[in-house]
């Protein structure tokens, strides 16, 4: 019996250690877009690298990188990324692509945000009409973007209509659909979202809503066990022409989601 048990435990450990693998923490919004399902098989085919995705919020992704529990992170929150590199947790920051955020809400658009001249104005209209607004409230990139927009606005936020759910994008969208509320979402998560009941994309296009994804390898100087070579291989692939074609051609419901904007290496 005990021998069987030991064998089972070893089987568990063994199963993970076979192929060359690396761990990449990515944001929920990236994963929900479905792009990873296209990229991962191509990466494995081209480089033989099995990338294991940890799908978390930006806040947790950065914590995972700081603790050395992943080999690289792919996130979209400029300030946090810069701090990550400045504090020596990451070797450098490499921009890969961007998508954009959109404002989603009830089809009737009770706050009339669809004709707003800017994203900030749209939020001010929501605040002044006090139609419910769902916030991710989870320190994610999306949440940080939303907070920066509120900060730029004249609106005052109160609990009467502003609901922090502390959840991932999908769960927050579910909540917004249930409440008939507005919500800031990345375009990919919105297009992939299956439960659009009564909801519609109401505002998009303001350049402040652009959402830059960056790739940050975890510093091997700080965490010796990190697979720096694998992380470098992945970086080369993510910035390659193959990746560009796959990213730019990725469509949901006929719409392009991501724009590849990686620059060739400086050196």
């Amino acid at each position: 019996m005990i021998r069987l048990l030991v064998a089972m435990v070893f089987a568990c450990v063994g199963a993970v250690a076979q192929a060359e693998t690396m761990r990449l923490a990515v944001t929920t919004s990236f994963h929900n877009s479905g792009l990873s399902d296209v990229l991962l098989p191509a990466i494995e085919r081209d480089t033989g690298l099995e990338v294991q995705l940890l799908v978390v919020g930006t806040g947790q992704a950065i914590r995972l990188g700081e603790a050395g529990d992943v080999d690289a992170i792919l996130v979209h929150s400029r300030a946090a990324e810069d701090a990550f590199v400045a504090n020596g947790f990451g070797t450098h920051r490499r921009e890969i692509m961007y998508n954009d955020f959109v404002l989603v809400g009830p089809r009737e658009d009770p706050a009339g945000i669809s004709a707003s001249e800017s994203a900030v104005v749209a939020l001010e209209r929501i605040a002044s009409t006090r139609v419910p607004f769902v916030s991710r409230g989870d320190d994610s990139g999306t949440h940080k973007m939303e907070l920066s927009l509120w900060a730029a606005s004249d609106a005052s936020i109160d609990e009467g209509w502003y609901r922090e759910v502390g959840a991932g994008m999908g769960a927050a969208l579910n909540t917004a659909a249930g409440l008939g509320a507005y919500i800031l979402s990345d375009r990919a998560s919105w297009l992939n979202f299956g439960n659009k009941d009564g909801m519609e994309l109401l505002y998009s296009g303001d350049p402040v809503l652009f959402n830059q994804y960056a790739y940050l390898p975890v510093s091997a100087a700080r965490h010796a066990h990190v697979k720096a070579d694998a992380a470098a291989t992945l970086e080369d692939w993510l910035t390659s022409a193959t990746a560009q074609a796959l990213i730019d051609d990725y469509r949901i419901a006929g719409e392009q989601l991501f724009v590849f904007n990686a620059q060739p290496r400086d050196e």
Binding site: M8, A15, T28, N32, Q52, L54, G68, D69, L173, G194
Partner: protein
């Protein structure tokens, strides 16, 4: 209602076509939970027996702590195991985080108090019956514990099944320590959480029905094993 129906259809379709991904995560769910269950039983049963047979100073405290730990939120267990197994934590060098082993460790911690508490209740009652006889027969401590564990095997099976139920349906802890990595640590419950997050309720429900079916099948199988082994009431 529509979602429920779609879920049932999805579940049926996934099972009939033996969807390879479904088979993989189902087997992983079983592997993780059954391994955790076996380990937890090896820990919980002797602890429960010892608590019944021996009168030591901290006995009441241990029982109270066990009972309290039964209600421990799995997320807390997950977070503690995560911090311990993280590369920056005390056991980081083992490199166990985000592996099925980490998930097994978390589940063992979650179900040991449950199994030990339930087992202790029945072992304590049995010990009250056996006490005089076993002392009269000069049974050693080890013999007393073995006699109790063997004669209470039916009740212990029930305790183990309760542990299985809690472990197989658990998502909070294994999400944190396993990371829900496709092809590595994704199990039924974390897949359900993922699909719910994506708003694909039908697939999430479908997986949920598969999970329920799995739990029922394992329960029936274990009961069947228990019955053929010994005919009787206990």
């Amino acid at each position: 209602m529509n979602d429920l129906w779609d879920g049932l259809v999805q579940a049926g379709w996934l099972v009939i076509t033996l969807d390879p991904e479904l088979v993989e995560i189902t087997l992983r769910s079983l592997q993780v939970t059954l391994t955790a269950l076996v380990i937890a039983c090896f820990i919980a049963f002797p602890v429960a027996a010892l608590l019944s047979v021996r009168r030591f100073r901290l006995r009441r405290l241990v029982i109270a702590v066990l009972n309290a730990l039964m209600g421990l939120p799995p997320v807390v267990v997950g977070l503690i195991v995560y911090v311990l197994l993280s590369r920056s934590g005390p056991f980081g060098v083992l490199g166990l985080l985000f592996t099925p082993t980490a998930m097994i460790i978390a589940q063992v911690i979650i179900i040991v108090p449950l199994i030990a508490s339930i087992a202790h209740q029945s072992l304590r009652d049995l010990w009250a019956q056996y006490h005089d006889l076993l002392i009269s027969m000069n049974a050693t401590q080890g013999q007393r514990i073995r006699a109790l564990l063997w004669d209470a095997r039916r009740a212990l099976l029930t305790a183990a099944l309760a542990g299985f139920g809690r472990a197989i349906g658990e998502v909070g802890a294994i999400m944190i320590v396993g990371g829900n990595i496709d092809n590595a640590t994704r199990v039924l419950t974390t897949a359900i959480a993922l699909e719910t997050g994506r708003g694909d309720f039908a697939l999430a429900l479908g997986l949920g029905f598969v999970l329920i079916g799995l739990a029922v099948a394992v329960n029936l199988a274990i009961h069947r094993l228990g019955r053929t082994e010994v005919e009787g009431r206990w």
